[in-house]
Amino acid sequence: MNKQEVSGGEALMLSLQEEAVDLVFGYPGGASLHIYDALFQQQAVQHVLVRHEQGAVHAADGYARATGKPGVIFVTSGPGATNAITGLATAFMDSTPVVVISSQVKSHLIGTDSFQETDMIGVSRPVVKHSYLVKKPEEIPKVVKEAFHVATTGRPGPVVIDIPKDLTDASYNFKFSYPKEIDIRSYKPVDEGHSGQIKKAVKALLRSKRPIIYSGGGVIQGNASEELTKLVRLLNFPVTNTLMGLGAYPGTDPLFVGMLGMHGTYEANMAMHNSDLILAVGARFDDRITNSPDLFALDAKKIHIDVDPASLSKIIAVDIPIVGSAKTCLSQLIEELEKEKYEIDKDSLEPWWDQINNWKKEHGLDHNLVDKAPPKGKILPQQVVQSLYRETKGDAFITSDVGQHQMFAAQYYHFDKPRRWINSGGLGTMGFGLPAAIGVQLAHPGSVVACITGEGSIQMCIQELSTCLQYGLPLKIININNQSLGMVKQWQDMQYGGRLSESTYQGSLPDFIALTESFGHVGMKVEKYEDLQKSMEECFKMTDKLVFMDIYVDPDEHVYPMLEAGKSMQDMWLDKDKKTWE
């Protein structure tokens, strides 16, 4: 097969096969007709027709996050390409490997404001790791090889390949051969950490009395959960995960102190603030974590492992920076620690653990709220997540949208495995959850996939319910319906004197049950606490159907803890009237 004469369109399909791509998400159009014709004439690569290009990128992104393999997208020129931008930005902020293959107008029309022409390379530039404008059909195999290499190695990220229509025309043929190796002289990600820095780090780890390990999405992307878990247990250190890092360390393990940051647990934020040593792995000291960099963990020595040198000392000055992949660097730390010359004195951490457990006892989250009838009679959003957790035995793939429901999901669903929690943390893209769930379900056909969403977010990509019918995807959509843009409302309640500017719908919400049914799926409405668990059971019994659970919850509930802006990590609101300062 390697030496036959092919068109540019066929070369693209063969190149994708060489990259072991089995699924492409996309939407056709004028400029991509040749590509879609080449797609039609082969079987190895299957295509999923979405209903909006944003959905295609999120679905491919969900697929990538759930598998570690790159997600691939076809879009046409102009509006097809621009519709993909939100998806690219989402993938860029969370460093996920997706490859968008956008079609472009014919070469001779570029720059003439021709029909459906957009400068995709220009428009996407700030939200991609790299991009390619293909100039000749013969370049296609090499560009695809490079694009996949760049997207998946180092700090992963989205890559765009823009291909003018004439290059994929079946009337021009050439010999196909796929490069075996790729060498980009200006791109050589570092894998192994500097051995001197590793030794320094180990000494600092062993000297600390109040340590904490803070790990992020890099550990999941870098497939380093096993190494992280081993290191944490070896040292008996407390470990906290960022929103993107949940599942990297088992969420039900006693050494796990919960998520940290803006809506992190009291004990995780207190432990960070009061620590004398922070080992950060694959995390980037984002402003949703540090609150105020000037006040961030002032007593702590900081060790930071990251594959991206630009992440080191970007926001917080680091004492021991280590450039390298999470997996290799953590293995190096373990190997060094296991040498005989070191003694790990787990007992010396006892006072620190007592302190942390006290914090947890004082203000930790209540994971059994669902057992008690809610005080105001209305279901609490937290109860929905707890009920879902119990029903799925903590073993579902959970995607989410953006808002309060996302935070409740992160706080109350315990993820014991990596790649189970799939959400837009960096960009915070409402509309991500449903299409992402499509990608996850297609990647794991036999598994339970639930999307925790809100009535605001779900309406941003609701059209993908139609895609779900076409491909028979039995997703479970858990719509935590608080009849408001809850997270916006929460800030307005707390900081704008309760002036709810444009955060409610004035009775204009659609009938989600009728809507779901019109898309050919099952809808369930839940309004009473007494029905919650039973309905949840019923929903998950329908294993071959998409079920949309529209669950009405208390619209006045807020997410706590919540860091107070301009202060440190120990300054949190614990409920509507309780704060940790003053």
Binding site: I121, P126, S131, L133, S186, D308, P309
Partner: protein, 159 residues
Amino acid sequence: MKRVLAVLMENQAGALSRVVGLFSQRGYNIESLIVAPTEDPTLSRLTMTTIGDEKVIQQITKQLNKLIDVVKVIDLSASDYSESELMIIKLSNHKDTIKKIEELGGSIIYQDETILNAEFIGTSSAMDKVLSTWDDKNLLEVVRTGILGLSSNAKTLTI
């Protein structure tokens, strides 16, 4: 503080826009920028002047290195370096103008009865000094390349 960076990048369409885009995207400023292909035609060399403290310059350097098209970056101003820029000015042609240009080390590259174009090469401050010798009435137009820099030690910026 003024810093001078030298960047070696792939001589490819789009590479320069990525470098320039990075600066606006991340809020770094560019005082001057000059770029041309090198003796190896697959590479371009860029000299840029920017303002920033140590932390900012470190971030700029790392972010530049992160661009796939960028092959190498050095902060020339971190050690000894030579800098120079080319300036061409347009002057009204009076009777003592030519003499003055020659005294200041410039050379005349165009001349007619009313106008003179003169070329000067030197450090930015030397160029500023040249400019200050003429008043607005006689100095009609100025164009400067911005700083071109080279380290003044044995190390070279090559791949």
